[in-house]
Structures are given as structure tokens and as C-alpha cells.
Amino acid sequence: MLSKRIIPCLDVKDGRTVKGVNFVDLRDAGDAVELAAYYAEQGADELVFLDITATHEKRKTLVDLVQKVAKELNIPFTVGGGISTPEDVGVLLNAGADKVSINSSAVRNPKLISDLASRFGSQCVVVAVDARFADGKWEVYLNGGRLATGIDLFDWILEAERLGAGEILFTSMNHDGTKNGFANETLAKLSEMINIPIIASGGAGNMEHFADTFTEGKADAALAASVFHFKEIEIPNLKNYLKSKNIPVRI
């Protein structure tokens, strides 16, 4: 049976992983290769690296990091952040990334999705969408949630699928950071509306939240950062819990 995927997300800056990752048993907590290997051994099904490097000049360090990770990692991984052209994608895929995630650049230039799908295949194009619910409406935001677009979430996701997205990574800004669970009602609506996989993101606080997003939210995969990085949830325990709830997972 196709299993539900558990995906830790790692923030990367200037070629190193950041954001409070605090494993005492890692020699170097900022070393992406060590962290990636740790999560792979724990049973993560995929990894996402999100590059938050500010300057263009430092982008090359991301490519070096992707290459180092790809050489060691035997599970799939996605790279996102600052990708705006097919050339950017070509460089990352050649370095060994399996998929790329595009967000603001796809909203600004939707044709980027179809360009990438026809050149590299839909399977490697993840369209990430940040949205906020207010006044009875889900609105798409850009630049890490700082810029409102006026675009309706459902319209945009349908358009992204039509243009050739292989997967949708949906982050609810209302839920992100709250640790109160994922946006399951909206996820379920999205999941039934489209015919490509959807990754739930934003709101993971405990193991029940993961079970809920797979059952009530009908998500195909769930992504989280801090609950994994701070070991509030350990992946082997999470997977055993999900299995006990009859949710198909890879153990």
C-alpha cells in the first residue's frame, strides 16, 4: 500500500542548516549532510531543504550543499528557496536534487511551472503555497508570508495543477507555528479538488496532529520542522503511532 510520507524540513543559510537544530549527538548540528543522514536513519521518507540565504552571491554554497547531501543520501529530497528560472532548477537537479519547490516566483510568473514541467518533468516540480484565512477567504501570500496577493488559494492551486505541478506543498499561515494541528478542513477540500499529491505544512504539535491530517485532512504527506529538530516528536515513535491508527507508513 502507498504509505503516507513524513517530511522534515531543514532551513539552510549560507550552505549550513540553521534554526535551533540542537542534537547533542551530532558532531556539527549545522552540517546538512550529518542532519540529512540522521533523519534518513530515523525513517524520514523525504527531506526538504529551504534556502533562506539572503544574497545572490552566496547561492553557490547551496549548490555545493545539494551536491554533498546527494552524494550521501539514499532517500529523495527537495530544494526550495530563491528559485526563479529553469536555469536555477537545472543547476540544482544536476547537483543531485530530486525535486525543487517554487513559491513566489511561480505566482509572479505562472508559466515557470509549465516551463519546468516540460523541461524536467512534473515529478520534480513542487509548488509551495502560503495562504492565510481572513474574512471568509483563503488568500495566497508571497515572500515568506509578508506580501498579500489578493489571489484565491483554490483558484491558484487548480491553476498550478493545470500548468503541470507534480505536487502541492500547502502551508496555512493561520496554523504555522501554533502547534495546534494542521488546517485539515481546507486540506481535505484541496486534496479532493486536485489529482496530484498534497503535502500538509504548518501547525504540527503532537503525533495526533499527524494522524488527523492524514485522515481528516486527506493529506498525502506531512511536513514539519521544529517538532523534529527539538525532538518533541521522534520519527520512529511517530510512525509506530500512525501504524497503530491504521495509517499506512513505511517502517
Binding site: L2, S3, A70, N74, G121, C124, N195, P197
Partner: protein
């Protein structure tokens, strides 16, 4: 402690036999071959990446990878005469993902004529469930040398929208919408619909088995 990738540490095989081999990955500009190359490097082998007929013919083992669209990939093969060469190869050949589909007679994807190594037709999944079939799914009904040491119902990583129905050549099956071929074998030709290079320890085992054929 330093965490190592699973598989490196647990490897028990005859390393010498492996390292002496010449593994050639066919390069025809169809998708990402880095992952496949790195997977062999993790096993201590430096594969040669080539589209040259002589180099491919001289290999001990040949890897035929592929990601992307079938018709476009077949055109790429034709440009280098690889469509003629691959079916004639006599050493073990391993097709991966689109590589496996191109080894069949034909594909519903853009009505593409394939290499005809496996007398099978590649079909598109119906939209009963999400397509592509993406993620980790279980290998069943395992047969033959590629799956030595791999247990029934172990997970491998799949990403595909088209599938090969089960047939006489099927040596592993998988269930998504219907039962389909996860792996094929006929004579010296082997193929996996999943990505062994991205399938954790199970994938490592399958690649080791291929090298040790």
C-alpha cells in the same frame, strides 16, 4: 557520533568483485542521472557516464536510467543510435523508471514505440486515485536474483504516471489502483519501475544484487 548512511555500514558483500567492475550509465540527456551515479559511488564504484557505443558495449553492467517524457526520451536515444544498441547488449542491463518503460514494446505516453525488449505495453493509470503514483510503496511477489535478501512487502520509492501490467516477465509487483509490474526480467535485461537509488537500504540491496549478478 557521526551518522552514516544506512547501507554503507551494513554492507557485507564481496567488495573486490564489485569494485573491479566497469559500470556504464547510459547518458542520453533524459533527466537526472546524478542520483544513480552517486548511489554506485556509495558502493565504492565509480561508474562511467557515456553515450558512446564502444564504451557501453565494453561495460560489465549497463544502467539505463530515465526521467521525463517517453517520446522525447526515445528521440534522444535515436539521435545517438542507442535505440539500436540497447536491445543488442548481452551483459546485464538495468532499466530504471522511464528506462524500464522504454524497454517495452510501446507506451500510451504520446503513443511512443519502445525498444521492444519486453513484449509489453505501457499504460496510463486511471484517475481513480492521484496520479502520479508518488512515494513509498510495497514490493510483492518477489522473484529472481535482483531481490535476493529483500523481503516481501518492503518499501521502495516510486514516481510515475504510467505502468507496465503484470506479465510473465514480472519479477516484483506493486499495488496502486491495480497490481502492476514493479520489476521485470528477461534474459540479461532487468528493470525497476521504482528508483533503487532513492529507496533507502532496500534499494542499496537491489543495486548490490545487480552488481553481483
Amino acid at each position: 557520533m557521526i551518522y552514516l548512511i544506512p547501507g554503507i555500514r551494513d554492507s557485507h558483500l564481496s567488495l573486490n568483485k564489485m569494485k573491479d567492475q566497469k559500470i556504464v550509465i547510459i547518458d542520453y540527456d533524459a533527466g537526472n542521472i546524478q542520483s544513480v551515479k552517486y548511489a554506485f559511488e556509495r558502493l565504492g564504484i565509480t561508474p562511467v557516464v557515456s553515450n558512446d557505443e564502444e564504451v557501453i558495449r565494453s561495460a560489465d553492467k549497463v544502467i539505463f536510467p530515465g526521467v521525463g517524457e517517453a517520446a522525447w526520451a526515445m528521440n534522444s536515444l535515436r539521435k545517438n543510435g542507442l535505440d539500436q544498441l540497447i536491445p543488442q547488449l548481452t551483459q546485464p542491463v538495468l532499466g530504471i523508471c522511464l528506462g524500464m518503460q522504454l524497454m517495452c514494446e510501446s507506451s500510451e505516453e504520446s503513443n511512443t514505440k519502445g525498444l521492444g525488449i519486453f513484449p509489453l505495453q505501457v499504460k496510463r493509470f486511471t484517475n481513480e486515485r492521484k496520479v502520479p503514483h508518488m512515494g513509498w510503496n510495497q514490493l510483492e511477489e518477489l522473484k529472481g536474483s535482483l531481490f535476493k535478501g529483500v523481503s516481501e512487502m518492503e518499501f521502495a520509492y516510486f514516481v510515475h504516471s504510467y505502468y507496465v501490467p503484470c506479465s510473465e516477465e514480472t519479477v516484483a509487483s506493486c499495488d496502486y489502483i491495480l497490481n502492476f509490474s514493479a520489476s521485470l526480467q528477461k534474459d540479461n535485461f532487468y528493470a525497476c519501475q521504482f528508483h533503487p537509488e532513492k529507496s533507502g537500504e532496500v534499494g542499496v540491496r537491489i543495486l548490490e544484487n545487480f552488481i553481483n549478478l
